[in-house]
């Protein structure tokens, strides 16, 4: 299990491999924002403070979204595009950055 800490909600969850961040948000009641849910609107952008390498690899849509925001911060991810991609480790995510 991966230890995921959602900093701004003060939620700590143990999550299993391949769970999507959307499912995790829904089940934990986190206030993570989602809009289109398909990687087009950037509403769900969040900063992976720790453990980005334990998430699914960055997608083309995310690269495009970062470009559009004029940011080069590789730890900014679209939460609707991410899932857990590890069996153990620590991830920390912040929605306000």
């Amino acid at each position: 299990m991966v230890n995921l800490y959602l900093k701004d909600d003060n939620i700590k969850v143990k999550v299993s491999n391949s769970k999507s961040l959307r499912e995790i948000a829904r089940k934990s009641g986190a206030s993570m924002e989602f809009g289109c849910r398909v990687g087009d609107c950037s509403t769900c952008v969040a900063k992976v403070v720790k453990g980005n390498e334990l998430l699914s690899p960055i997608t083309q849509k995310e690269i495009f979204a970062l470009e559009a925001m004029g940011s080069s911060d590789k730890d900014l991810r679209l939460m609707c595009q991410c899932s857990i991609n590890a069996d153990e480790g620590e991830i920390e995510i912040s929605y306000f950055f």
């Binding site: 939620i11 143990k14 999550v15 089940k27 009641g29 206030s31 559009a68 004029g70």
Partner: protein, 409 residues
């Protein structure tokens, strides 16, 4: 048209259009005397930039004004501060008439452009810091997203200290005298516009004001209503105060507001509300209160919601639904920021009991944090069930005060 164009400064002209007949704007706003779609032309030694266009129906008026101040061949840039149709309505036609002009939109606008104009057009994107030159004039862009569209940006004309603020600082107020020192009293419209358009995005307003503060601003040229040239700082201060207000009130008391909203016909949901409030009130730092939705009007709903850190909504199930005032309450979130607020729902029911879960789902779409599952009780709550309500209130209040939630998924 009383006067064809109006000068903001030596090299900037107003070329927008007036809409005195409009009474409802964007479905959600009323306007008592109409509005305007402001558009501007900036002239430099090496060409002209057109800042936004107008709503499609007003294209003729726009092109008439435009033609009176420049030739299409002179247009080097067309800047759209956001793509909403009230400002992009004449874009396609303008690009046809000025084929050499380069379109400038924000990075976030790219994915929306195809939804606004159907033909393929060449464009360049701008984020904070990008500058364009018209020879002796320089325009610098500022990324001011979500005010009120995701792609909103602003720009600043250095030589004449004019801020093109997009919809920020706008008013739906029609007055062809145009400048704040010459028009009628538009202060109510300025505030109303903020409350309906900018209020849900307060954090972004503060970010934008921070960017604006880098510049000395002599004139604010918004996209609707009067041009603000007498004392721009006055309007900036208003936005700053309105956007910081709620933080100020809360920090004054150092408490978190826990509000229970309910409706009840035979007192069952009401009893639950009382006990939830009592449970919450035992938590240090919480101020719990309850409100009967039957007696709240929309304005009060908005103000209470804005101040509440935790929003607990109770409704009986009536004909397979939550009651209308509960939906009305949640609809008010359209005017507010919801991220960061805690939500929960409850209610008494007779045989199906969908209401609390429906409210819970709705709050999820509204981006509430929902740390506990809804609670529903069949008809009259028992002593034991009321204890559950007490624990429910207390748990939510503790989480509101920062208690960590741990779970496995």
């Amino acid at each position: 048209m009383s006067h064809l164009v109006a000068k903001l400064s030596k090299s900037v002209d107003f070329i927008g259009a007036f809409d005195p007949k409009i009474r409802t704007f964007d479905i959600i706003m009323k306007t008592a005397n109409g509005s305007s779609y402001n558009s501007y032309v900036v002239r430099g030694s090496e060409g002209v930039a057109v800042m936004d266009t107008v709503k499609k129906e007003f294209s003729d008026e726009f092109f008439l004004r435009l033609e009176s101040v420049c030739k299409y061949e002179e247009i080097k840039y067309i800047v759209l501060h956001h793509l909403e149709p009230d400002h992009s309505g004449a874009l396609e036609e303008l690009m046809k008439r000025a084929p050499k002009a380069k379109l400038i939109i924000s990075g976030r606008a790219v994915m929306m452009l195809k939804g606004i104009i159907k033909s393929d057009v060449a464009f360049e994107t701008a984020n904070t810091g990008k500058k364009i030159s018209l020879g002796d004039k320089t325009i610098e862009f500022l990324s001011t997203p979500f005010l009120h569209w995701p792609d909103t940006m602003s720009s600043y004309l250095h030589e004449e200290k004019i801020l093109f603020s997009g919809d920020v600082f706008g008013s739906h107020y029609y007055d062809e005298r145009l400048f704040d020192d010459e028009v009628g009293d538009f202060s109510y419209a300025f505030k109303y516009y903020y409350e309906h358009i900018m209020r849900p995005f307060k954090q972004y307003v503060l970010q934008a004001l921070n960017l604006y503060s880098r510049f000395e601003i002599k004139t604010i040229a918004p996209l609707h209503g009067p041009i603000l040239r007498t004392n721009p700082q006055y309007y900036i201060d208003k936005y700053e105060a309105w956007s910081s207000e709620d933080k100020f009130r809360k920090s004054t008391f150092g408490k978190k507001m826990f509000s229970v909203f309910y409706m009840s016909s035979y007192d069952n949901t009401h009893k639950m509300a009382e006990v939830i409030m009592e449970g919450a009130d035992t938590v240090e730092g919480i101020v719990a209160s309850m409100y009967d939705l039957a007696s709240l009007d929309e304005k009060n709903m908005i103000d209470l919601l804005e101040e509440s850190d935790a929003v607990i909504v109770g409704s009986p199930t009536i004909n397979g639904d939550a009651v209308k005032p509960a939906w009305d309450l949640l609809s008010c979130m359209a005017y507010l920021e919801s991220q960061g607020k805690i939500g929960a729902s409850f209610g008494s029911y007779g045989w199906t009991g969908e209401a609390p879960e429906m409210l819970h789902d709705r709050m999820r779409w509204l981006k509430f944090r929902l740390p506990v599952q809804p609670i529903k009780i069949k008809l009259i709550p028992t002593e034991e069930e009321l204890n559950d309500c007490f624990a429910f209130g207390k748990e939510i209040a503790e989480i509101t005060m920062g208690k960590m939630v741990e779970m496995e998924i």
